[in-house]
């Protein structure tokens, strides 16, 4: 299937064309970026059906075969991430058409967006460690620039903080890649996975710790989370949706899954580390979110909490835990993007992000109000929305693994989630409409459209979770459960 390089090439090419379009009419860049993201979203579904029929596929770049050459690997996990990344990117660009009118240099914004997209697609497709590092940096540098896009004082401060922490993370990853190269003489993930199997070595453990710290920083798991609550709210709303919904998962969670499950191989200690990191992020993120007064900042803390759920599910290591983790990853991308787009819509109409200043906005902004209610109910795990199923699967996984205390904590944090989203609903959308907001209007139709589609996805995947589970999630779970057989699969095929 030779369309795989398009996922990197198309946005990369679009980024350069868009950078040249600075002086041209805005409509051209609007159409171009939406065309590219829509095409990629469709292609990701094509790959999904292809994978279902043909199984795992390895694309060798320039016919240099692995382990010498760089390969792109298409398996269940990559395809799940591709579907999530490209569809959310499409909704975000659709939303940007109206939203980004407030900013100057829209074409440059799209150019950076396309670079970030290329980086993320590269990260989830590549089967080579150094290539992974390069794509990680492409996506990260584009995201630094996007966080600072408004060039206000707060945005610059957030961008600096994010840049320093994230650069340190990248350096740690590069250091670890170097260590692995020194130990094995290879850069190919599958090859390294085959060589280091069953070996115990101090340097190997050291490289593992470096990877955990590096990718943990990118994923904003709790001891490494300090940059996220500043960086995500400071970005323009569609970028917040991309960062929170997709970027931390593609650069953090996906890489953690790939490296620890498929290259090093899971063991009991690692699963404990995952669970402890998960529980700490989940509880700390939830408690910190409860006392926020800024709409977007609350959502950012909530992201940390939900990333904790995913880590706990991964730590379980059994079928239900992994399924729950991947399903929660998918769901979190949909509802957190939706909620960030809602917050952007509120900011677009009222010009404020402070929850106390809002009130009764449902009456003047019915679409935003309704979709944000759906998003809030989904993220708090109310049946039949999609968040309910993924949390349920994680809890089943925990019970099967006989971690009853963790299961109870997970349920309690879910209640906490409901509490702070009810706070959002209570302050922003319900209650009496304040005098100063009585004149505002609903946001333009194209912004409403992308919010409505995401809300429909939230309900749709909640009701039809079973086919989704069979088609999209189970191949991805299979990849994680195969663990270190990955090496033989890639190099043999």
């Amino acid at each position: 299937m030779n369309i795989i390089p398009l996922f990197i090439g198309l946005p990369l090419g679009a980024a350069f064309v868009l950078a040249l379009l600075g002086k041209a009419k805005e409509v051209i860049s609007d159409v171009l970026i939406n065309l590219v993201t829509f095409l990629l979203a469709i292609l990701s579904v094509v790959l999904l059906t292809f994978l279902k029929d043909n199984g795992i596929f390895v694309y060798t770049m320039g016919k240099w075969f692995p382990p010498k050459g760089i390969n792109l690997v298409l398996d269940g996990l990559s395809v799940l991430m591709l579907v999530v990344i490209n569809w959310i990117a499409f909704f975000a660009t659709l939303y940007s058409v109206s939203y980004m009118r407030r900013f100057t240099a829209k074409a440059k914004f799209y150019s950076l967006f396309a670079l970030m997209l290329a980086g993320m697609n590269g990260v989830v497709l590549t089967g080579d460690f150094f290539n992974l590092f390069v794509f990680l940096e492409i996506a990260s540098i584009a995201s630094y620039a996007l966080v600072a896009f408004g060039v206000e004082a707060e945005e610059l401060e957030a961008a600096f903080k994010y840049m320093v922490m994230s650069s340190v993370a990248s350096i740690l990853v590069l250091f670890s890649v170097g260590l692995l190269y020194g130990l094995t003489g290879s850069l190919n993930m599958a090859d390294i996975g085959g060589i280091i199997q069953g070996k115990k070595n101090l340097l190997l453990s050291f490289s593992l710790v470096l990877f955990l710290a590096g990718f943990g920083l990118k994923a904003a798991i709790v001891p490494f989370h300090a940059w996220l609550p500043d960086a995500h709210p400071s970005a323009p709303a569609p970028i917040s949706a991309m960062l929170s919904g997709v970027l931390i998962k593609a650069l953090g969670i996906y890489t953690i899954m790939r490296v620890f499950f498929n290259v090093y191989g899971m063991n009991l200690q690692l699963s404990w580390v995952f669970m402890i990191l998960g529980i700490v992020s989940m509880v700390a993120g939830g408690i910190l979110a409860l006392r926020q007064r800024d709409f977007k900042r609350l959502l950012a803390y909530s992201s940390i909490s939900q990333i904790g759920y995913i880590m706990i599910g991964l730590g379980c290591g059994n079928y239900w835990g992994l399924l729950g983790a991947l399903f929660h990853l998918f769901n979190h991308a949909t509802f957190k993007s939706l909620l960030f787009l809602n917050s952007g819509a509120v900011e677009y109409s009222t010009g404020t992000r402070k929850l106390e200043e809002m009130g009764g906005l449902s009456k003047v902004m019915p679409v935003t109000g309704a979709t944000s209610t759906i998003g809030s109910l989904s993220i708090s795990g109310i049946p039949p929305f999609n968040g309910f199923w993924s949390k349920l699967f994680i809890i089943i996984g925990l019970v099967q693994a006989e971690r009853f205390t963790l299961a109870v904590l997970t349920v309690l944090v879910s209640v906490l989630t409901l509490a702070y989203y009810l706070k959002v609903q209570r302050f922003a959308f319900f209650g009496t409409l304040k005098e100063r907001w009585s004149k505002i209007k609903e946001v333009p139709g194209i912004m409403c459209a992308s919010m409505i589609i995401l809300a429909v996805v939230c309900i749709g995947t909640g009701v039809l979770f079973y086919p989704l589970m069979k088609v999209v999630l189970e191949p991805a779970v299979a990849v994680l459960q195969e663990g270190t057989k990955y090496s033989a699969l890639i190099l043999g095929g």
């Binding site: 401060e157 600096f160 650069s167 190269y181």
Partner: protein, 111 residues
């Protein structure tokens, strides 16, 4: 021994990022860390008495140094220059807004 030295340089950079209060010194800390890692990668490929990995008549018998880490370092340098250029640009804009380079005074975001 040299590997140990590169690790020490790495730690100096990390110290600089974590402890220093001046934005530009933090940036320098990042650059030092990057150099330490590049140094480490170059060391990985070094062979005692090796020659440049170009196949010629007389070099056929000689030992080559490993070219792959060198290629990696080149890529890493290009990436680090992009990061450095951008981070310094951010520093300049921060100075225009806050009129200081001291991180303890640049804290409008909290919560």
């Amino acid at each position: 021994m040299l590997f140990f030295l590169s690790f020490v340089v790495f730690l100096i950079g990390l110290y600089c990022v974590v402890i220093r209060k001046n934005l530009l010194k933090m940036v320098m800390g990042i650059v030092i860390m990057e150099y330490a890692v590049n140094f480490f990668l170059i060391l990985l490929g070094y062979r005692m008495g090796g020659v440049a990995p170009i196949v010629t008549e007389e070099a056929k018998v000689a030992k080559f140094v490993d070219p792959l880490p060198q290629a990696m370092v080149l890529t890493a340098i290009v990436i680090s220059i992009a990061t450095l250029a951008f981070i310094v640009a951010i520093c300049i804009r921060i100075y225009q807004r806050y009129h200081t380079f001291d991180v303890t005074e640049i804290r409008r975001l909290k919560g």
